[in-house]
Symmetry: C2
Subunit: 255 residues, 2 copies
């Protein structure tokens, strides 16, 4: 397939690279020509920074830009090609953003954090796709399966739910790690002393499920330790410790 | 060194096994003879279930039992051997539990979660040790270094701080994973679709530090997404989402 990538950020560049193994990346658009070139050049694609230059003959147009920029860019590209498949990669935005502007559209959402320069094993990244009709869905399916072995169908409601779940699972856990980091650095202990513990904790949760894997003072109902820990904490750290302990106590209460 | 292990739980069995490579495990004690045998037999040690039988001629006595059981067991073993080194593996208990009962004592605390039957790469497990005098500390140092390459000295205050940090980093993160698991299972999505995301998230936090690794709606100050997510959540999940988002917003506020 001949593909145009709108966007040159982390998601765009990782997906463009993965797709280039079995597809032709025709163009990469970014407002910054420099950014467009950085993604386009290694893939033998044309770098553009003017939406007027977007080719009208591609099979697929993938929009991987900030959520806020989506509506205006879709407006600008309306009816450029009504035979092609148009999709955005924004998990938190509905496919209906394209309605009335493009004929065949959908969502092509990778559930992964991409960091510039950090390679990702794309074949293991779950892709959640949705489309306005079956033929479009089939094309997005094929596209997703050409780079990943884990392709799911998910509508907006399901994607929203997954996004919330991943905020808990990734963003909030990362914040808890930074609380731990701060508590340790007060004593000149490096965060990575926790590495073996964190790896075992994650593997255990993935193996037996987090519900069964729960450990700690709250899981044991050890209110003595909980109170002693609260006495050592301040402000937000203390609020977090109290709330999460209460939730764990409730979740594992003996009835 | 000739070592007696008091306890036959997860910590005791993993440590006994690691120590047996370069030391003689003389005895393993448990109230349950069956449990003592399970740990002792593969190591060629004697299994005992009577504290009266504890050998008086060992070099090191390691107590790896529940926190609550420590004081009474220490009482029962008082002055069994005042030349040997006595240590417990309980991160949240002071070494002073031994004071007046043993002459040479300390703490031998592995910062790791041990699960029965799940092998642990002990050489990477950080050990935090402390002792009542330098000679005892040196012996515990040698003992710890014989099984791990990461040996630190830490007094009670520092261990307590590490314990709190690990509750945040492991127990609470695991609870957030079980919230995610619950949110996903409502939509018949398996928790392990998050696996690639979780692995990248953890690696990033360990590589660049969690403070720099933070992402998500609260990190971006995206209050629209935060409100939309709150509207989808209930009860404790909602409280957790609100509190953690507020804390992240505060932590990354532009001044």
């Amino acid at each position: 397939m001949k593909i145009v990538i709108i966007g040159a950020g982390n998601v765009a560049s990782h997906i463009a690279q993965a797709l280039s193994d079995s597809h032709e990346i025709a163009q990469v658009y970014s407002r910054s020509l420099e950014h467009a070139i950085a993604v386009a050049e290694p893939l033998g694609a044309a770098a553009i920074n003017d939406l007027e230059q977007v080719a009208a003959d591609a099979d697929v147009y993938l929009l991987s830009i900030t959520d806020d920029a989506l509506p205006s860019i879709i407006d600008r590209l309306a009816h450029v090609n009504d035979h092609a498949v148009w999709a955005h990669t924004a998990g938190s935005r509905p496919m209906e953003l394209f309605a009335g502007k493009m004929a065949r559209y959908g969502v092509f959402y990778p559930l992964q954090t991409f960091t510039k320069g950090v390679p990702v094993e794309m074949s293991k990244v779950p892709f959640f796709i949705e489309a306005v009709d079956d033929a479009t869905l089939a094309e997005l399916d094929t596209l997703a399966q050409s780079i990943s072995s884990r392709v799911y169908h998910a509508d907006s409601a399901m994607r929203k739910r997954m996004h919330v779940a991943s905020v808990f699972a990734c963003n909030f856990t990362n914040y808890l790690w930074s609380v731990a980091d701060r508590l340790l650095s007060d004593h000149d202990i490096p965060f990575d002393v926790l590495a073996p513990l964190l790896e075992v904790t994650l593997n255990k949760a993935l193996t037996i499920g987090p519900k069964a894997a729960q450990t700690g003072p709250a899981r044991r109902g050890d209110r003595g330790v909980i109170e002693a820990h609260l006495a050592m904490l301040h402000d937000g750290d203390r609020d977090i410790y109290r709330l999460l302990s209460e939730e764990i106590l409730k979740a594992y209460e003996q009835h």
